[in-house]
Structure formats: C-alpha cells, structure tokens
Symmetry: C2
Subunit: 200 residues, 2 copies
C-alpha cells in the first residue's frame, strides 16, 4: 500500500487550493481526499476534523496575506504604501477567493491572538503613522481602512460591481485616491451633542 505522503501542512495547502477552485464551503474532506487520491478516513490522522482543516486554511491565508502586505509595504510610505497595501489585498482576494473567504472566518480568541492577523494589524497601523494621525483617532482610521478594503474587495468578489459602469478598476483607483486624501486631511473630532443612539 503506497504511502501518499500526507502531512497537515500539505493537506492545508491542497485544501486551500481546492477552496480557491471550488469555493470554501465546497472544499470538503471528501473532495480533499479525492484530490489527494486517498480515502477520507486517512485524513483524520492529520487533521482533527473538517473544522480544523478550515481553521488551518484560515491561518495559512492570514500568513500569506500578511507576507504579501509586508512585501508591498517595504520601502514605501504615504500614498504609495496605501495603494500597495490595498492592491496586495485585492490581488490576493482575486487570485485566491477561497483563501480570502477563509480569512473572514471568526477564530477563537486564543487562535486569533497567535495568528498573522495581529502582524497584519500592526502593519496597517504602521502605514497610518505616515499620515500623522494620533490615538485614539488612529484606531478609528485603522478600522475604517480595514472596512473599506474588506468591504470593497468582498463586494467586488461577490460580483456587486460587475454589471454597471464605470468598471470596478476605476472605482478602486478613485477610492484609494479619496482615502489617501481623507487620511491626509483627517477631520478633527468634534464633541457631538447627541447620544450615539441606535435606530430601531
């Protein structure tokens, strides 16, 4: 009985590739076993269960994304850095939709704390230091930036901008322009008179 040379790492990589090809929720253990030319039960020696596999894919994707972000940011600052980071995100999501979807799955606190997510958060914060925004505004800006990137990329990936003009690339470029402008002219926080009330 020839051995297939399975390891958790290889399964994670194959699983991630599978997710990119057929979608994260179609990346089942069954499909992964088929792809590896192996019986399903054999996988359970290497990953605890399907949830475990998905978590590993999430962690892999976070690593890869953090790596690309770091490369993109290297030696850049200000607007260049912003565009590079944003493009790294978008390009990664488009090249690896399954992996990108995995990055959005909630991790338990413990796992998240050791993931590349924190590395990534640090990078975003470093980027913002080029814009002269101090705490606590910096945190708000980090969250806004993350929201725009994730929001735009995932709407685009879902086909939200497909069937209307102008094409998505133009909006993307313009969005980054506007965002850069906003960060360079970050408005002062004015004490508002009304409560932070929630409708409904």
């Amino acid at each position: 009985m020839a051995r297939a040379g399975l390891t958790p790492e290889r399964l994670t990589r194959e699983g991630a590739d599978l997710a990119d090809e057929v979608g994260l929720d179609q990346a089942t253990l069954s499909a992964l076993a088929r792809r590896c030319g192996v019986r399903v039960a054999s996988l359970y020696s290497h990953v605890r269960n399907s949830r475990d596999l998905r978590t590993r894919i999430t962690l892999l994707a976070l690593e890869e994304l953090a790596g690309r972000s770091a490369d993109a940011l290297a030696g850049r600052s200000g607007r260049d850095a912003l565009v590079a980071l944003a493009d790294a995100h978008r390009d990664y999501a488009r090249a690896h939709p399954g992996r990108y979807a995995a990055t959005q799955r909630p991790l338990d606190t413990e796992t998240a704390a050791h993931s590349a997510g924190v590395r990534h958060a640090r990078m975003t914060r470093a980027l913002l230091r080029g814009y002269d925004i101090e705490e606590p505004e910096q945190t708000h800006a980090v969250r806004l930036l993350g929201s725009v990137l994730h929001g735009y990329v995932s709407l685009e990936l879902g086909g939200g901008f497909d069937h209307s003009a102008p094409d998505s690339q133009q909006s993307w470029t313009r969005t980054l322009d506007v965002l850069d402008h906003l960060l360079r002219n970050w408005p002062d926080a004015v004490p508002t008179s009304h409560e932070p009330t929630s409708h409904e």
Copy 2:
C-alpha cells in the same frame, strides 16, 4: 394527518429565523423540517431544494433591509440621512446575522435585477444627492459608501473589533462623522500620471 400549513413564504420566514439563530449554513432543510414539525420530504413541495430556500431567504432579507433603509431615510437628508441609513444597516445585521449573511450571497443576474437590491442601490444614490457629487464621482462614492458599511458591519459581526479599545460603537460614530466630512468635501479627481497597475 393534520396539515401544518406550510407555504414557501412561511418556510422562508422560518428559515430566516433559523439562520439568525444558528447561522446561515446551519439553516438546513433538515433543521427547518424539525422546526416546523414536519418530515424533510414535505418541504420539497414548497421549495425546489436547499439552494432555492437560501435564495428566498436572501430576497427576503434584501426586502427587509431595503424597507428599513427607506424608513430610516424618510424625511432626512445630509448627515442625518447618512447616519440613519448606516445605523439601519448595522442594526439589521446585528439583530439578524443570518439574514444579513444571506444578503451577501451572489444572486444570478436575472434574480438580482428583480430583487430589492436595486431599490437599495437607488436609495444610496438618493442619499448622495444631498451631497452634491456628480457623476461619475457619484458612482465611486456609492461604491465607497457601500464598501464601508458592509466592511465595517461584517468585520464587527465577525468579532474583529471585540477585544480592543476603544469600543466599536465609538469607532462607528466616528467613522460616520468622517464619512460625512468626506462626502461634503469630496476631493476633485486629479488625472494621475501612473497606470492603474496591479501589484502581483
């Protein structure tokens, strides 16, 4: 054999409630049948299959969200309208996470064109008319606004802002402030010298 009074509409509503309670991908036909006190096969007289059910949940959620958005916008303009629309979104997502997740599922072109999604898009555009931004910038602004709302809400829902200060409500309020400021001071498009190049 007492009849349970199933209809596509009722199944859609129960399915949506189920999705809010246990998550969209745990909202299976089996679970729905159990909840309705009925055998699984009985559901197939009312919905074509599980994909059909999910699509119906998506359409229901889009309707509801568009309705709430319309209510929120009624009689408001400018900053008030922005905050009301944004809060309607966020509140809906928090109160109905399963339904909100459903709104993010891609629909085929035909279905999407007849959904409440277009009504919603029109409202966003109407909101922006209060800000004096002309086409084609208006479209970019619509997409930016949609990205921020969706991005923030889904990051928050995924627990992304849970374990760090300041709390999410503050960032939300501030984000809307900043967004309002941005829309009121929308920067001119400057012809950029460099290509809209994509980093690998």
